[in-house]
């Protein structure tokens, strides 16, 4: 194993997609990097006093302000004349990014800070026990969107965060998946080679919250991509560059390996609804090969 800047011994669950992705991100960024981290699973399992998994300067302040803290770090480094040699990464989960931290993130993007924002998207508030976030997919069973006689799980689609980030006119936006580690590292390196604000959103399965086998993290992540439910693409200066899907799989293959969609499999109408989401993504982000 090569030397990593995110040491083992932290307390993440077995099969945690976020822990894998976070290591890939910092190892791609390298040691001349400073991280501002939102409150969330990653912060909790990696920095329980007096231990830390991080071998780079790392700061956690609050749930929603890593983008603003990173703006301050970048400003401090600019003042010191050190910004050109040091990367600044702000990172958080989907709730900290798309919900409570959206304002601070929007401010950071709009002001043009030279910061890479990484959103680890495990599609719910996992740290507090699997509550629905703005990035929870349609019909997903969370503890605050439980299916019942009057409900089919989460009633709303995922907030289109990458498009919201791109709408700020920033030079680089990308999605990635922990199913494709090299793609994550390639995108992090590309992002850090570009000056200005960057946004990368990484799909990270959560075995506990999604109720899948902890040995299946990578496979589950790949199925999300192969079904079109998690579109992988880049916006370079606003130009869409999709990662094509060689052979599109039906959504059922992705849904059936997880407990959070179990209620759906009994219902043809619900299944159709999810297939429509995948079809929409495939069209919107031009995911189909040979087209």
């Amino acid at each position: 194993m090569t030397e990593t800047l995110f040491k083992p011994g932290h307390t993440a669950c077995a099969g945690c997609g976020q822990a894998i992705a976070a290591r890939l991100v910092i190892d791609a960024a390298g040691k001349n990097t400073m991280i501002a981290n939102n409150t969330g699973c990653l912060e909790v399992f990696s920095t329980k006093y007096p231990e830390s998994a991080w071998c780079v300067p790392w700061i956690h302040s609050l749930f929603e302000n890593c983008a603003a803290v990173a703006s301050g770090i970048e400003s401090g480094l600019k003042y010191l004349g050190k910004k050109d040699t040091i990367n600044v990464i702000a990172q958080g989960g989907d709730g900290g990014t798309a919900d409570i931290g959206l304002q601070a993130l929007s401010g950071m993007l709009e002001r043009g800070h030279d910061v890479l924002y990484v959103c680890y998207d495990n599609e719910a508030y996992m740290n507090t026990g699997i509550q629905r976030s703005g990035l929870t997919p349609t019909t997903s069973n969370t503890t605050t969107t439980p299916p019942g006689s009057a409900s089919f799980g989460n009633p709303r689609p995922k907030k289109p965060m990458p498009d919201i980030a791109a709408a700020h006119g920033i030079p680089y936006v990308a999605t990635a998946s922990v199913g494709y580690p090299q793609d994550i590292q390639k995108k992090v390196k590309k992002a850090l080679s570009i000056k200005g604000p960057k946004y990368i959103q990484i799909h990270v399965p959560c075995p506990l919250g999604w109720r899948h086998e902890s040995s299946q993290t990578s496979e589950v992540a790949k199925l999300a991509v192969e079904t079109g439910l998690y579109p992988i693409f880049e916006y370079e200066n606003g130009q869409l560059i999709p990662r094509k899907i060689a052979s599109v799989k039906p959504v059922e293959e992705y849904l059936k390996v997880q407990g959070r969609f179990k209620h759906l499999l009994k219902d043809a109408k619900g299944l159709k609804e999810i297939q429509a989401v995948a079809d929409y993504n495939i069209k919107k982000y031009q995911l189909k090969a040979q087209e």
Binding site: M34, A36, L77
Partner: protein, 392 residues
């Protein structure tokens, strides 16, 4: 040389001379003139700083937190709702031991919305761990900013410091100010140097999760530092006086207390009005004085008890209120006086000036009239009875 300056401009001038590298703020009345001036100074290259225009006070406080974490002197200013929106970050900055300096242009809190002065805003973050200074005059506000950086950045302190100045009364008032020169400031306040910072050569983790095995001690250490400040702050004010020839700040200041039998306790610009009222009362033979709270956190309990030990009656003047309870100064002062046991003076609490209601010499004389009567703990002064009757 003295200059006739607006309070906000004077604060911007002294902040500029303190050479912060990161300045971030969100506009709110009556703080705006301070940060507008700083923005112009950065634009004119009079001040070499990163000026970060943020989308909220929450982010303003977070930006200076981040700036300070890189070891760069940082500054912000706010007021009223802005301070409340910041509150979460304000606590965080103190807990992380980052010596940010902030000016609070004290203003009332909604609802009803009111842009005028009282001191309710700062009370919301009273328990955050910040050192809280209160300025009586524009000159003192200027001087306290210098002392704030000097104190907060002391390696034995490492705490943020807030300079409270009454909105409009001080921020928009004009006064002849003795403005220290850049050379004097540079001599008094050297560049900020710390090893407690984000540094790729020495990677620290900042902002840990502390479980019940550690949290209690970490909070205790902040309290311990505040206790040590009770001797550091008088030293700081003493050195300041030696350097600049002025008495500014300190824990408390007293006025005509030598033989006083009755005393006012207050903080901020109202102390000037109280001094005038005391002069009038003294002219009539009344032995009355003032104890001014210059530092509210740490709370100077011994200094206050000792200054009031020979007094028979005390009037605590609060420009804020813990609704359902008492004025915050009243609560603290009465706690401090417990140490005097049976010798403790009769102490009454008065609420004045909320939402910018003028406090005149007459208002202070009204307080004085009530002082020798029955003890009261939360008496409002200057209520318009006709308005109260209307709402009944």
């Amino acid at each position: 040389m003295k200059q006739f300056l607006e309070g906000s401009h004077a604060v911007a001038e002294i902040v500029k001379r303190c050479r912060p590298g990161v300045v971030s703020a969100y506009p709110i009345t009556p703080q705006t003139h301070i940060v507008e001036d700083l923005a112009q100074m950065v634009s004119n290259q009079e001040l070499n700083a990163q000026f970060v225009n943020v989308e909220s006070e929450h982010s303003a406080a977070s930006v200076v937190l981040g700036g300070e974490a890189t070891g760069v002197r940082s500054y912000t200013a706010t007021s009223s709702q802005g301070l409340l929106l910041m509150a979460e970050v304000v606590f965080n900055i103190a807990g992380m031991r980052l010596p940010v300096v902030m000016t609070t242009a004290n203003r009332a809190i909604s609802a009803p919305i009111n842009i005028w002065n009282d001191q309710q805003d700062v009370m919301v973050v009273r328990d955050s761990g910040w050192v809280l200074f209160f300025a009586e005059s524009i000159q003192e506000a200027v001087d306290l900013h210098l002392q704030a950086y000097k104190l907060g950045e002391d390696p034995d302190v490492m705490l943020p410091v807030m300079v409270n100045m009454d909105g409009f009364i001080l921020t928009h008032g004009m006064e002849a100010v003795d403005m220290p020169s850049q050379e004097e400031v540079d001599r008094y306040l050297p560049a900020y140097k710390t090893t407690y910072k984000l540094d790729v050569e020495n990677p620290l983790t900042m902002g840990y999760l502390a479980d019940p095995d550690y949290y209690l001690e970490i909070r205790y250490m902040v309290q311990e530092t505040h206790t040590e400040l009770l001797s550091k702050i008088p030293q700081l004010a003493g050195e300041f006086k030696k350097t600049f020839g002025r008495e500014s700040g300190g824990l408390i200041q007293t006025y005509r207390m030598e033989d006083a039998e009755q005393a006012f306790v207050a903080a901020g610009s109202v102390c000037g009005t109280i001094r005038d009222a005391i002069d009038e009362l003294r002219a009539k033979g009344k032995k009355v004085g003032l104890v001014k709270i210059a530092t509210y956190r740490p709370f100077p309990k011994d200094a206050i008890a000792s200054s009031l030990k020979n007094v028979k009656e005390v009037a605590v003047v609060d420009k804020s209120i813990s609704l359902g309870g008492f004025g915050p100064f009243y609560t603290d002062v009465t706690s401090a006086l417990l140490s005097l046991g049976a010798q403790a003076p009769k102490t009454s609490g008065f609420i004045l000036g909320l939402g910018g209601r003028d406090i005149r010499v007459k208002s202070i004389l009204d307080v004085y009239e009530k002082l020798s009567g029955k003890q009261v703990d939360c008496a409002f002064i200057g209520l318009k009875q006709e308005l109260l009757a209307e709402t009944e």
